[in-house]
Point group: C2
Chain length 438, copies 2
């Protein structure tokens, strides 16, 4: 075996008798015979301990390199990836302090604030799932309506599985559950798109999904959620009511709670959309000069902002005037905890989450609001000129780049990326632009 950078094992012991858990797959190490390593298994949601059965050096990023271990029931493990199929059980045989491990930045559920690297890892996980790499679309007609010198690029998450980007976070979060957790099912409360997303992600894993939805959700969203095999429980529309009903069902069923946005795994998963978009824009020969992403709970915006910041692309939040909690929080520096609104952008009726707000504050250049009329005009233009069904929430970013005076006066031009969140519209109801007049 070749010599390597440095010897990291054995490391200091943890209180529970395990070695310091080590991310063996992302560093170059020289492994001594019988050196041990404890690794958090995302799949099984527990720590497994390995003992090295051969002196060797790990080769990170090389999928053909294997680390050789002696562990309970397994002996090899692929290096350079997150695939741990041979992890079976905890050698110590002790109940692990999961909450403590979960706080360890290196491991497990909601381990730390997402980074570009963790979002790239999530993209690798999602690429092995049925999630679509949605297209990036351009429109001469719409670009001509934006400030001079602008080329608009749209990430079409309305064409995503379930009709919205939400499947990304849901699938990533579900991918981290153990078989015993999956057996009890998952639960969430959602105004719609996250509901469907979690239903799909759970079904893909053969797990039951309990979905608490506000009575005011669009019929199409309720029906679609049931259609994916989920159990739908209706609640009053206010956020606190939804949370209460959700907690009641959770306690009754033991289902694992996956919130719609205020969760690092959700943020990580949602960040993969902009990650893809940045690559696709380059492939089109139109690398992004700026990004505009709408904000409701802030799962998508927070994830997007981490990726954008790391790539040096300025990112702006787009929000309805009627649900401007993020705007007010951003300006004052203090998160606004509640919002009660009937904005047509029904996916954005929630306040920004705690984790989300902290991330957004650090990474976003500014928050720009638009009127209800601007939102529905933008929505109609996309339907008419691009022949794409997008929901009002998805039109909020479009409205910013087409109609906002604040955006125009910012002087931002070039290749501007706008993310369409989804396309789930109640097609039996009158179209929004026929209801909201100027």
């Amino acid at each position: 075996m070749s010599t390597a950078s440095r010897v990291v094992n054995p490391g200091p012991r943890q209180a529970n008798g395990l070695e310091t858990a080590t991310m063996i797959w992302d560093k170059s190490h020289e492994w001594k015979l019988r050196s041990t390593c404890s690794v958090w298994s995302e799949k099984d949601r527990k720590v497994a301990v390995y003992e090295c059965i051969e002196e060797h050096t790990s080769a990170p990023g090389n999928a053909d390199a294997y680390l050789k271990f002696k562990a309970d029931g397994c002996c090899t493990m692929r290096c350079g990836t997150l695939s741990h199929s041979s992890v079976r059980q905890d050698r110590a045989g002790l109940p692990l302090d999961l909450s403590r491990i979960a706080r360890n930045p290196s491991h497990g559920m909601e381990s730390s604030i997402p980074t570009l690297e963790s979002i790239e890892n999530a993209a690798a996980v999602l690429s092995a799932s049925p999630i679509h790499r949605t297209p990036v679309l351009t429109s001469e007609s719409l670009s001509a309506l934006a400030p001079d010198g602008t080329t608009l690029l749209f990430k079409a998450e309305n064409l995503q599985k379930g009709g919205a980007f939400k499947i990304r976070g849901a699938t990533y979060a579900v991918s981290k559950l153990s078989p015993s957790e999956l057996a009890k099912g998952v639960i969430t409360h959602s105004s719609g798109n996250h509901a469907q997303a979690l239903a799909i992600a759970a079904k893909a894993k053969g797990a039951k999904a309990y979905i608490v939805m506000p009575e005011t959700s669009a019929v199409i969203k309720k029906n679609a959620t049931k259609g994916y095999g989920a159990e739908v429980i209706l609640s009053p529309p206010l956020a606190e009511d939804r949370e209460r009903v959700c907690e009641e069902v959770r306690q009754r069923t033991g289902a694992y709670f996956i919130p719609p946005y205020d969760h690092y795994d959700i943020i990580t998963g949602q960040g993969t959309a902009v990650l893809e978009m940045i690559t696709q824009a380059k492939e089109l020969g139109k690398p992004l000069d700026a990004l505009v992403v709408q904000v409701g709970g802030g799962g998508l915006l927070a994830g997007s902002s981490i990726v954008a910041k790391a790539h040096g692309i300025p990112i702006y939040a787009a929000e309805p005037e009627l649900a401007d909690d993020c705007f007010r929080g951003f300006e004052s520096g203090t998160r606004v905890e509640r919002v009660s609104t009937t904005t047509v952008a029904d996916g954005l009726r929630t306040p920004v989450g705690v984790r989300n707000f902290d991330i957004i504050r650090k990474n976003v250049e500014g928050v720009i609001t638009v009127s209800e009329r601007q939102i529905v005009m933008a929505q109609k233009l996309v339907w008419e000129r691009m022949k794409m069904v997008i929901e009002p929430s998805a039109a909020v970013g479009v409205a910013v780049v087409l109609f906002s005076e604040k955006w125009k006066s910012s002087g931002i031009t070039g290749n501007v990326g706008v993310l369409w969140s989804g396309g789930n519209v109640d097609l039996d109801a009158p179209m929004s632009w026929t209801v909201i007049k100027g």
Copy 2:
């Protein structure tokens, strides 16, 4: 110069003193010094005569090979393409008998029934225009509603320039006009999509377009046509009224008449959509087993049927029950000359053209009709599941493969291609499926 296959010049003289016109760019010839050749110029719409100024062999298909000619004002001409930029004038200086040349299968406007080869040539012409290569889309959700074993593929001509396939035929027909013809403008009568298409195609060539539209056309179509710089003239809705008004304007302006469907160049241009689709389906690893194309005037269906037949792919026509002239004509063997209908599929309210009917009869396996309710249900499903705005006419083929008992009993499965004609819908009017109830 190398020796070549055979000497073809000089050939027999025509009555007007010209050599027999020869397609010099698609044969291997040995050219003797001073041999002459008369060539129909599609661009200038006249015959030019060339005299060979160097003994040589033409190399067809090789864009780097030149034929050397002595002609009036020019001396070289690219071989292997249809580009004739150096053709200036008729050496004989005589008015040419264009009508006679137009009947010559080798040359000029509407020279003969389209073939796979002529449609492939048209595709090459269109590929140099701003026309889009629209995507081919699949949908697990819709395929699951079709007969078992079916994978549906949709050619999304709703994403085409002008929002419909019609730009193909219009652009190809306009590409054949001379500068003097273009100076007088072009004229047509159309229920909508051909109108916009011709307006766009004319504008691209700097020519004026006169468009006779029925008063009953969708507002969005009238406005879009005007938006492309065309002069819109309204007429009563019946086909004969439109034709009368069109002829009046044509005589007053001298504009060149390009009909919406009953014309070989239009048929040739429209055929390029299915040509692309066959290639794209192969690229997706889903080569087509059958095709379903809706029929109104029959420009698209006729062109598609020639391509399908040549590729050995069975093709079926889809038609609204309320406008079933093609179905009745197909069954009886005699074209139905008139149709008066208010079908929701407003692009299909015209009778099948004369040229179109002859081609369709020879190539199409059968005509399948669907009800108004089936059309709007199919339209809604595409909007809801695929997030694509398609017009009712575009949903007629979808309705056949999803809802027709006749289709189901045909037993056709595998990769079934359906062509969406367009996506021009009046978004301020109530959606069709909310108006036409089951």
